[in-house]
């Protein structure tokens, strides 16, 4: 727009620059603190000129918090959640859009309601389910009296038990269990021209063939967007991994941060803590920077 507004432009630049400082400042301070030695990091005020111990501190943080395996755990976990969401969402949306069966609207609402209540508020009973994933089915058998009947007839006590604590599956499945993404795909499938389905059917393609050969290739963009946003979301999860993984072998990188909080007494080791924080921050930040286009699109089209 051609319009001369020098004063407004000046204030725009000023405020945007302040915004820039607020956004990048904390990340920069973490990086600078990670480059100091223990005396310099505790100097008040801390010098904003980087020190020379960056790589030493990064190495110390890496080994003391054992970050290698923890980052690998996070990677497996976040990839699992992203893949799970993408696949489940696509096939559910396909079912909802391309078939007409009794109870379809009911199923639609059952899925829709899951968007309202996040994992955090049903954390205690979800934990119980993860401890024995078959407990809901045991519950149904008990309530309906089937397990009583089986015990009467055969003498076998029905006790279904399959624990998922301290396993990748136990970490991943409950986070895949909400319908984020299903509606993204649904909206997208609804925009696909009917002629395409008609042509596919005339050529004798069945439902599965149509889904794999036509629908999936068309929704590549949506997959990339949803995959990116779900990867970030899962990587940054905290409460659920904290509960499910008590075994150090399964702990995720974000969870490991807590072990880096400096102890009271003596000079606090903030330089190591900040080096560790930087390492944990960087992978999702790199995903945001590299996949910015998909990430933003994913956020805006899933509306969460």
């Amino acid at each position: 727009m051609i319009e001369r507004t020098p004063i407004l432009n000046f204030f725009t630049h000023l405020i945007l620059f302040l915004g820039f400082l607020v956004a990048v400042g904390p990340i920069a301070i973490v990086a600078i603190a990670a480059s100091h030695n223990i005396a310099d990091v505790n100097k008040v005020p801390m010098s904003l000129i980087p020190g020379s111990d960056f790589w030493v501190n990064m190495k110390t943080a890496w080994t003391t918090a054992n970050l290698g395996p923890k980052l690998l755990n996070s990677l497996i976990f976040a990839t699992g959640v992203a893949a799970g969401k993408v696949i489940i969402s696509a096939i559910t949306a396909f079912s909802l859009v391309y078939f007409r069966y009794p109870g379809r609207h009911f199923i639609f609402w059952l899925i829709f309601i899951t968007l309202m209540l996040p994992l955090e508020v049903r954390i205690v009973p979800t934990y119980a389910v993860a401890a024995n994933v078959l407990s809901p089915y045991q519950g149904i058998l008990d309530i309906t009296g089937i397990s009583w009947l089986i015990q009467k007839v055969t003498g076998i006590e029905v006790a279904l038990n399959l624990g998922l604590l301290n396993s990748s599956i136990g970490l991943i499945l409950p986070l895949v269990a909400t319908a984020t993404g299903t509606f993204l795909y649904r909206q997208f499938f609804l925009t696909i021209p009917e002629e395409l389905t008609e042509a596919a059917r005339m050529d004798g393609a069945g439902a599965l063939r149509f889904f794999i050969d036509i629908l999936l290739p068309l929704s590549r963009t949506n997959m990339a967007a949803l995959g990116t946003i779900m990867f970030l979301w899962a990587w940054n999860q905290y409460l659920w991994p904290l509960l499910v993984t008590t075994d150090p072998a399964h702990v995720t990188a974000v969870h490991e941060l807590k072990s880096l909080i400096p102890n009271v007494g003596g000079l606090p080791e903030w330089h190591i803590a900040m080096a560790g924080t930087l390492i944990v921050m960087l992978p999702p930040l790199a995903v945001v920077v590299l996949m910015q286009r998909w990430f933003v699109r994913g956020l805006i089209s899933t509306e969460k």
Partner: protein
């Protein structure tokens, strides 16, 4: 909107919905139902049966001053951090939407904080706002003892608000910018031709058109302030000092898993669920009426 052409074998269709249905039954509906059941019974930790107590769990929660404190501070936290995130995001998005040199760079960088995990942001701010080191420690050199989030509840609250808002300004920014960019340029140019000032154009043309986004972000920001705050509280304050940052979601966790009071935690979960549902419905009914949809 419905498809005219569908596939006739509807048994196949149901089969495609089965994985999702199994998942949400096992990890959503069953636990949600279980939470209701537990809230009405007295659960022994780690098995050992349960006793039906009706609404007793709710009564004892409501009679507990700690719980009311938790609700009050959760609402305070939600109101302040949502306000900061939304106003900050709105201003930055409105300004980057103007065509200026460098606005592309701002658009890229201002999004970054959203990619960072809330606990990692909390760790960064724990250092930046530490009373003995970091950047804010300077104020303690001027006025010894004036800043100590470890002892002063208000300071601790300020810390968790800072870490949360930092991340969610970026989130609000993304949505506001998308909303601004969706407004046809010709509309703003027409208003400019009519001689209206930049500020007038913002209030009369752009602002009414982004009200759906404001409404959406209000719901999301408040809901997230009840959930995503967990990692921040756990890393920065662990609910202290003196319960001053013991937000509802953190209290559910510490009562349930540290205090082994499953029934009390379940009852608190039910209240939090109802609160979130009521907020969502309330916002839909009362705020949506003022929203201009395109």
């Amino acid at each position: 909107m419905e498809k005219r052409i569908t596939f006739s074998k509807w048994s196949v269709g149901i089969l495609f919905a089965v994985p999702q249905l199994l998942l949400i039954f096992t990890f959503f509906y069953w636990p949600a139902g279980q939470a209701v059941f537990w809230s009405l019974t007295l659960q022994q930790p780690w098995g050992g049966g349960n006793i039906w107590v009706g609404l007793d769990n709710f009564k004892s929660i409501i009679a507990n001053a700690d719980y009311w404190n938790s609700i009050t501070i959760s609402i305070t936290f939600a109101a302040i951090s949502t306000g900061i995130s939304m106003v900050g995001g709105l201003i930055l998005a409105a300004l980057t939407d103007r065509q200026l040199r460098g606005s592309k760079i701002y658009r890229v960088v201002l999004i970054w904080p959203y990619g960072i995990a809330a606990p990692a942001a909390a760790m960064a701010f724990r250092f930046i706002l530490a009373p003995e080191a970091g950047l804010i420690a300077v104020v303690n050199q001027w006025w010894p003892g004036i800043w100590d989030p470890g002892l002063d509840g208000n300071a601790a609250m300020a810390c968790i608000i800072a870490a949360f808002s930092w991340k969610y300004i970026a989130y609000s920014f993304i949505f506001f910018l998308a909303a601004f960019q969706a407004i046809p340029r010709s509309l703003i140019e027409a208003a400019a031709m009519d001689g209206s000032s930049v500020l007038r154009r913002f209030w009369d043309v752009q602002f009414p058109l982004i009200t759906p986004t404001i409404f959406f972000l209000l719901v999301i920001n408040i809901t997230e302030s009840f959930q995503d705050s967990f990692g921040i509280v756990d890393i920065m304050t662990s609910g202290g000092p003196h319960n001053s940052t013991n937000l509802m979601v953190y209290k559910i966790y510490s009562d349930g898993f540290k205090g082994l009071d499953f029934s009390g935690a379940a009852a608190q979960s039910i209240i939090l669920m109802l609160l979130i549902v009521v907020l969502t419905i309330f916002q839909f009914r009362f705020i949506e009426k003022r929203v201009h949809y395109r």
